[in-house]
Amino acid sequence: MHSTNTSGDRTFKTFAIVFLSLLTVCAFLPFLLIVVTSFTSEKSIVENGYKFLPDRLSFEAYTFMLAQASVIFRAYAVSIGVTAVGTAASMLITTMLAYPMSRADFKYRNVLAFVVFFTLLFSGGIVPSYIMWTRAFHLRDTYLALIIPTYLMSGFNVLMVRNYYKFNIPSALIESAQIDGAGEFLIFFKIMIPLSVPVNVTIGLLTGLAYWNDWINALYYISKPQMFGIQNLLIRMMNNLQFLTSGQANGLVNVAIDIPTNAVRMSMAVIGVLPIVIGYPFLQKYLTKGVVVGAVKG
């Protein structure tokens, strides 16, 4: 845009590159530490602590994890299931609520917009929610408790989809479908849902990330460890590594002694963060878009 022709400009650009490189290294190094230490031999950690450049590498943490694969896979399955079901359901009901609000000829569009918007301004807090979900809906120790409270729909996302429809879909499209005799349901499911794919990718990623990273619903509503997703398994493991082996019926006492505790902790963190790193290129593109588009108004 502005060409860098003077030497001062070039100096500044060099400075920017050097400084940002340093910041990027600072942002990234902590991840490197957990990855490296997860591959460090337990003996080396006990002697020298967690290091970026360990004396002895080892796969013992991952070998140990492999032996406990059933517990880890179970938690992964819970996390994947909750994320998939929650995100799909969220995208559907969010779009269903947003679309009527975008229709200029819908009588209650402003009422709905206010109902949605007000949830962004005021919240009753966790205590009434907790009492309601546990006492009236009996969600305690059900998988629904991981999906329904808090994350299923955000007013922010509804307004984002509403704006997408409002500014990108010409009303002539709806009118011509109506002239062809299509009813509201047909128009919504056959035309409007397919048209919402771009904005739904963004809110789907935001919602999916929120579900994958959530551990607070389980903290409040789940007391059975076998129902934990990967995040809550991580919390539990931080306090009690033996939990991994306690699931084994033949849990011999000496198993517990051999656990490469320090390395296993870090390998668990690696396993918890892995899906995000794998999906990262995709995530990054749409999340940055989401921030910029997300200037949402009531």
Binding site: I34, L97, L121, P128, G155, N213
Partner: protein, 304 residues
């Protein structure tokens, strides 16, 4: 034609909107009515609606405790530091990023700087543990030991936590918050820079005389919105990152962690709901107030 449609589309469109509305009604609106719990002596035998009113007694008890002072002080001060430092870091990153925006490096920088914002606080707590745990943590074994400093029991000493939590928060959020400022800088009219360059203004001069003043509306809005949330805190940052360590509550207790502990660990519905309702109502007033000021600065950026 459209006149006829207007009367017939209401029903079907309401049906389409219904699932979402029902969810908001249950997940958001019923708990809003639930703030009455804070004014009652809840007895589940009688049910919430039939429990006896107790006026402001729960609030009186709450504000008599030392906890109330600590959690409000911590919530406010941490947020204040987060707002100031977070904004400065985000703007700094944005200005530098925009300088290299066309080069390949910018992709790498952005990828690296945003990554921390995508991971859960649980993973963050593991990372912090890798640095801070007493026996094997990186800081104690690789930095303090070579310097001849005695290992520090980080999770037991409250005095270090204000710094730790601020560093963690900035590390996690600065990259992501910079995106909005990068977008704002991209929106500045390039001819202003052109004119400045012709007049002989160097880069640093341009930043202070053009970029920063042009960013002012965005900064004001972001700060005001943050002030609207100054009574809320990230539960994970204050609960999970310090590993729920009791000896450092003094530095890590915020309103959100208090509500959780009072409700789930002490089973004290009166105190926890009083703290929660206090937070909700003050937060609501602050959001309205912040919006009022945003509207005065720039009506287009006001939320409503």
């Amino acid at each position: 034609m459209t006149q006829a449609k207007k009367s017939t589309n209401t029903g079907p469109l309401l049906i389409i909107a219904a699932p979402g509305l029902v969810y908001l009604l249950i997940n958001n609106y019923i708990p809003m009515l639930g703030i009455i719990i804070a004014f009652k002596n809840v007895d589940f035998g009688k049910g919430i609606l039939n429990s006896d009113w107790c006026g402001l007694k729960n609030f009186e008890f709450l504000f008599k405790t030392n906890d109330a002072y600590i959690m409000i002080r911590n919530t406010l001060l941490y947020n204040l530091v987060f707002i100031i430092l977070g904004t400065v870091c985000a703007i700094m990153i944005a200005i530098l990023m925009y300088e290299v925006v066309t080069s390949f490096c910018s992709k790498v920088f952005q990828a690296g700087l945003i990554l921390p914002s995508l991971i859960s606080m649980v993973v963050v707590s593991y990372i912090v543990y890798a640095f801070l745990n007493t026996e094997t943590g990186f800081i104690n074994t690789s930095i303090l030991k070579p310097l001849g400093v005695e290992p520090i029991n980080w999770y037991a000493e409250a005095k270090y936590w204000p710094f730790i939590l601020v560093i963690v928060q900035i590390w996690k959020t600065a990259g992501y918050s910079s995106i909005i400022y990068i977008a704002a800088i991209a929106g500045i009219d390039p001819s202003i820079y052109e004119a400045a360059r012709i007049d002989g203004a160097g880069k640093v001069r341009q930043i202070f005389c053009i970029t920063l003043p042009q960013l002012k509306p965005t900064v004001v809005i972001m700060v005001l919105l943050a002030i609207g949330h100054i009574f809320s805190s990230d539960f994970g940052l204050f609960y999970q990152v310090p590993m729920n360590s009791g000896s450092i509550y003094n530095a890590t207790q915020t309103i959100d962690t208090y509500v959780y502990r009072a409700l789930m660990q002490l089973g004290d519905i009166g105190m926890s709901s009083a703290a929660g309702v206090f937070q909700s109502i003050v937060g609501f007033v602050l959001v309205l107030g912040a919006n009022y000021f945003v509207r005065r600065v720039d009506p287009d950026s006001a939320l409503f």
